[in-house]
């Protein structure tokens, strides 16, 4: 009778006869349902089309405004919404009626006058089906999240952030404007792993991701691009704006040491910034290359700093950075 969270399940009764309606209202309330009532087919449809519609419906067949079977058909035609379990309750008792009722999309069919025990049992069947669907939806949502997010830091994973970058470039092609990217690489991260172990390194990465996420705007996207490297896609931003954001991230990362089980760890990051503007539009590959070069410059100039890539930098050959070869420009 109750959903997984022990909340009352909401149910809609659609019935034009006051006597039948009263019986249903009393019983459903007695059985623990949170009852909504419609007196005709059009109101029933309105209830069931709401965003937070009740997911159990007991519909009379013959109602003014719209027949119960027509309400069924319309609800079933609407895709992409949580399933509504529909029970047709009717005084029509011919076999053809039963078949027509089920054909219209009703899940079950009861003739009036109904037996209360039978109605209750059939409503329970409906609940089982709805609970099953809820579980499936939860499982699907979790799978979807896992497929697009980094399991350690919960920011977007590499595939997803590159998709975001491609989409942002496509939007720029359609609509103009400018956007930027920031490549943020934690300084001396290998040392953290070597001296304090990988579990400590994991804590540091999680905290760094958290600090980056807190520093960006709602419509920026943060992704884990490599081992200790993050890529941030920054829509509607020019060179100075994106560099400003990079600086905010840099400060947030440096601000306080990361508290871990293995002691406090001081961390800093080097950041490379690149922008694609209307005057100097860049494809994702080139943008990443530019940001990578700017990042390398930041490392070379002492780390814990942000550098903005200049379009002229792209004329220069891509240089491998000190820590590891640059394999990151492939998309």
């Amino acid at each position: 009778m109750h959903g997984p969270e022990s909340q009352k399940r909401r149910a809609l009764i659609a019935e034009d006869d006051r006597v039948s309606r009263r019986v249903l209202e009393v019983f459903l309330a007695k059985w623990g349902y949170d009852v909504e009532v419609a007196e005709n087919g059009l109101d029933a449809l309105k209830w069931l089309e709401k965003e937070d519609a009740p997911r159990l419906a007991v519909l009379d067949w013959m109602m003014p405004g719209m027949e119960g079977v027509q309400v069924c058909r319309k609800i079933r035609a609407q895709q992409d919404r949580p399933y509504i379990y529909i029970l047709l309750l009717t005084a029509r008792s011919q076999k053809d009626d039963l078949l027509a009722g089920l054909d219209s999309g009703a899940d079950d069919y009861l003739t009036k006058p109904f037996d209360s025990h039978e109605l209750r049992a059939r409503l329970h069947v409906g609940e089982r089906i709805l609970n099953l669907q809820d579980q499936l939806i939860a499982a699907r949502d979790e799978l979807r999240f896992r497929a697009t997010h980094d399991s350690l830091t919960e920011v977007a994973n590499r595939g997803a952030i590159l998709d975001t970058l491609r989409r942002e470039r496509a939007r720029q092609v359609r609509e103009g404007g400018s956007f930027g990217i920031v490549l943020a690489d934690l300084d001396h991260f290998k040392d953290v792993n070597d001296t304090k172990g990988h579990l400590c390194g994991d804590s540091v990465l999680r905290e760094a991701a958290e600090r980056i996420s807190s520093s960006v705007r709602a419509y920026d996207t943060v992704g884990r691009y490599g081992g200790e490297e993050f890529l941030i896609v920054v829509p509607s931003s020019d060179g100075q704006g994106t560099l400003g954001l990079a600086e905010r991230i840099r400060s947030a990362i440096e601000a306080i040491p990361v508290p871990t089980k293995f002691g406090d760890v001081k961390i800093t990051a080097s950041l490379g910034v690149a922008v694609s503007t209307e005057d100097h539009a860049l494809e994702p590959q080139a943008l990443l290359q530019l940001a990578d070069q700017a990042l390398y410059r930041a490392k070379r100039r002492g780390r814990n700093r942000s550098e903005l890539g200049q379009p002229s930098d792209l004329a220069k050959p891509a240089i491998a950075r000190l820590e590891k070869p640059s394999t990151k420009c492939r998309i």
Binding site: V19, S20, V23, D60, M62, A91, K112, P113
Partner: protein, 122 residues
């Protein structure tokens, strides 16, 4: 004949509820009957069928089996568009309704008294 025992059983012995239902029926069913009369006069088979269906379900809640059966017959007339048949059926239905009304009145008086006595018991 009114099958009150069945009706009481259907509301799981709730006499109070049964009395409420009877009152609602007394208020609503004349309107249904009048609607049917107009539907027959205007030769509207869909309206007639819907009202007959409603009355059938309504009466069944109270054990009014004769009225339910007569309503069913009226539905059949509606789907056949048998207007002479519908007129005859209307007379039958009207008579059954008067009968049901009288029975509800007397039987429920009994039920109300029983309910009061049940409340009065320590």
């Amino acid at each position: 004949m009114l099958n009150l025992a069945k009706a009481l059983d259907r509301v799981e012995g709730d006499r109070e509820l049964l009395c409420q239902l009877a009152n609602l029926f007394e208020e609503e069913s004349p309107k249904l009957l009048e609607g049917m009369r107009l539907a027959i006069r205007n030769r509207d088979p869909m309206l007639l069928a819907r009202l007959a269906h409603t009355l059938k379900g309504s009466a069944a809640n109270l054990g009014g089996e004769a009225v339910a059966a007569a309503s069913d017959d009226m539905s059949a007339c509606a789907s056949r568009k048998d207007w002479p048949g519908a007129k005859e059926q209307y007379a039958i239905l009207e008579a059954e309704m008067i009968s049901l009304s009288a029975e509800l009145d007397s039987q429920l008086r009994k039920v109300r008294t029983e309910a009061q006595q049940a409340d009065a018991r320590p």
